[in-house]
């Protein structure tokens, strides 16, 4: 892929202040992700994967270093500008789905459009179309509790997609799903990556899930241990 990278991290670090003193969770991360790439991040529990994802998703701020997203230095942005990035540039998919339990699936998907200032009727229409894209036609008026985990994760993906972001960040998106459903979700991700050119960064514990990405980053103790290409989605397409 040509053009400037979508994500650039330079000497990025993150510390947490705890009772036991300062804990360095991310050491000195240098990473560039081209637009349209698909990257899997693996690493042992507590190695800082979620912390990194939260910083990438503008949910958290780094303690050191630079983070440039889509040409913008995130450190220099105010709250509103970062909210705008979360809304338009990034779509976040969580391990625990994080749907609003009291509103129906279409409303859940439509929510980012509310903050994008889209009119109500238009929101609903776009949400229903996006639900159809993730294979949930006819489930629009269901409450999240009435559908399976795999379906809930599809709703979460639809919600991440609805504002047409350039980047999808998925922190252990298959962590709560069985193996078959996990592969279905991964095929949905790689499909979006291939057909729409949406950049995909995902965290996983499982080799076969990571194999859906074309690039694999190993994180240990807040540092990048290895960063290499993989055979790509073709290699992991067979369950």
């Amino acid at each position: 892929m040509a053009g400037p990278p979508l994500i650039v991290l330079e000497h990025l670090g993150k510390d947490y202040e705890t009772d036991a003193g300062t804990v360095t969770v991310l050491g000195d991360i240098d990473l560039a992700v081209e637009a349209g790439a698909s990257v899997a991040i693996m690493g042992p529990s507590g190695s800082g994967k979620s912390t990194l994802m939260n910083i990438l998703g503008c949910l958290d701020v780094p303690s050191r270093g630079r983070y440039v997203l889509d040409g913008q230095d995130v450190a220099g942005l105010d709250d509103d500008a970062r909210a705008h990035l979360r809304n338009r540039v990034v779509g976040f998919v969580f391990q625990g789905f994080n749907l609003l339990p009291r509103v129906d699936l279409a409303e859940n998907v439509a929510l980012p459009l509310l903050y994008a200032g889209v009119a109500a009727a238009e929101r609903r229409r776009t949400a229903i179309a996006t639900l159809a894209r993730v294979g949930l036609q006819g489930f629009e008026t269901y409450l999240p509790s009435r559908v399976s985990g795999g379906q809930q994760q599809r709703v979460a993906i639809a919600r991440a997609l609805v504002t047409r972001p350039r980047l999808i960040l998925a922190d252990e998106p298959t962590g709560n799903l069985d193996s078959r459903t996990s592969h279905e979700i991964m095929r949905l991700f790689t499909g979006l990556n291939a057909s729409d050119g949406i950049t995909l960064v995902l965290v996983t514990h499982e080799e076969d899930i990571a194999a859906y990405a074309r690039r694999l980053v190993q994180l240990v103790d807040g540092r990048i241990l290895s960063d290499r290409s993989t055979p790509g989605p073709a290699g992991g397409a067979t369950p």
Binding site: N54, G57, L59, D60, D79, D80, A83, H84, R86, N87, R88, F92, F94, N98, L99, L100, R102, V103, L111, P112, L114, Y115, A116, G117, A120, R159, A160, T163
Partner: protein, 406 residues
């Protein structure tokens, strides 16, 4: 955007129906109390104001009595120390506009088959000037009637209604204590006095007639009281001083002796009454406002619980692009909607309560647009004020922390 946030707020209130209702109840009670109390306070004030207006302006009442006989101090009005001549002398004072002597007594009045017990007051035609009391029919008795102790009478509305119904009493003959009187005039309705008496339940007759034919006393020419109207509010003090001097001189009171009469400034008394009512109605409103504040604290309490309960939801909203002001506005709107709905219900209850009070206790109530609008404004202010802190808490949550919250 606002419309959508309103819908969101409505959604979440519906989802917590019971809690929302209980929160609103605090508001309902507060607003109802404010509207009811203000209505009652205003009503009391208005009835006092009306009584004062019906009394006449710049008035004194000079009461006879308070003499010391054999070491026993008698109460006011106990001794017949005032006379018609005193009244005439007071009328000559420069500060005095009009003077009316009064000799009241109760008597049975009969017309045809109807009879009625009422206050018959001997006085002069200037009584109507002093009390600012117009006639609706006929005329007052003349000075000639007073000089000749004529048997003429002017009826108050209540007496006329009880004796004559809708008939015009002027020209008819009634019997007061068996003595026939010709009705020459009918007074306009005055309403209640400050002390709650029906001022229309009275008959006015020439003072001489009352002295000689109705309430004869052993001291001829005495009256119970003298009503005095000063020329203006400014000369009230001077008038009181001059009257005191004049009466002491006329009653030949030695230097050290107490007055054998009592001058009361009715206008000052009335103003005191009006002042008291005003303070009372302000106090009622203030006490009711406290319950509104308590209702507001209830809203704050619930909103704080709601923010804590929905920490994860707030985190999700921030993660998908909500700005801090979106979150702030959402929770603020919820608080304001809660208080406004509570306020609306409270206004209905308050107005209903005021009307019920009026019907049951027959007290005057005054519901002004101002008090209702004021209660609404106060309720929204309370909603914003007490909703702001929880909303700020929600808006200042860090997304990572909020999302980690279980």
């Amino acid at each position: 955007m606002i419309a959508s946030l309103l819908a969101e707020a409505w959604q979440s209130m519906k989802a917590n129906r019971m809690r929302s209702m209980l929160t609103m109840l605090g508001m309902v009670i507060g607003v109802a109390a404010v509207i009811l109390m203000v209505a009652i306070g205003n009503g009391a004030q208005q009835s006092v104001d009306e009584s004062i207006a019906s009394m006449g302006s710049n008035l004194f009442i000079v009461l006879s009595g308070s003499t010391t006989s054999g070491g026993v101090r008698m109460g006011t009005g106990a001794a017949p120390t005032l006379t018609t001549a005193d009244a005439d002398a007071i009328a000559e004072l420069p500060e005095v506009a009009a003077v009316a002597p009064m000799l009241p007594g109760t008597a049975q009045v009969i017309y045809g088959p109807n009879n009625w017990s009422t206050v018959v007051a001997g006085t002069t035609a200037s009584m109507l000037v002093v009390r600012d009391w117009p006639l609706v029919s006929g005329s007052a008795f003349s000075d000639a009637d007073v000089r000749s102790a004529a048997r003429t009478a002017v009826l108050g509305r209540t007496v006329a209604t009880n004796l004559f119904g809708d008939e015009d009493p002027v020209g008819k003959t009634i019997r007061v204590k068996q003595t026939p009187f010709v009705v020459v005039g009918l007074l306009a309705t005055k309403g209640q006095s400050l002390t709650g008496q029906d001022q229309d339940d009275t008959i006015l007759v020439p003072v001489t007639t009352a002295q000689r034919k109705l309430f004869g006393t052993q001291f001829p020419g005495t009256v119970r009281q003298i009503m005095v109207q000063a020329r203006s509010a400014e000369v009230m003090a001077a008038a009181e001083a001059d009257m005191t001097g004049l009466l002491r001189q006329r009653h030949h009171l030695p230097e050290r002796a107490d007055n054998d009469f009592d001058i009361r400034n009715l206008t000052a008394l009335a103003n005191t009454a009006a002042q008291t009512t005003r303070v009372m109605s302000i106090m009622l409103g203030a006490i009711a406002s406290v319950s509104l504040v308590v209702g507001g604290i209830g809203i704050m309490n619930i909103m704080l619980v709601s923010v804590t309960e929905r920490t994860r939801e707030i985190g999700i909203r921030i993660a998908i692009g909500a700005r801090r002001r979106d979150i702030l506005l959402q929770f603020l709107l919820e608080a304001v909607i809660l208080s406004l709905i509570g306020c609306f219900a409270g206004a209905l209850c308050g107005i209903g309560g005021a009307v019920a009070t009026h019907l049951i206790a027959n007290t005057m109530i005054v519901i002004t647009l101002g008090s209702v609008v004021g209660a609404f404004a106060l309720a929204s202010a309370v909603g914003v004020f007490f909703g702001y802190y929880p909303a700020r808490r929600a808006a200042s949550l860090q997304p990572v922390d909020a999302l980690r919250y279980q």
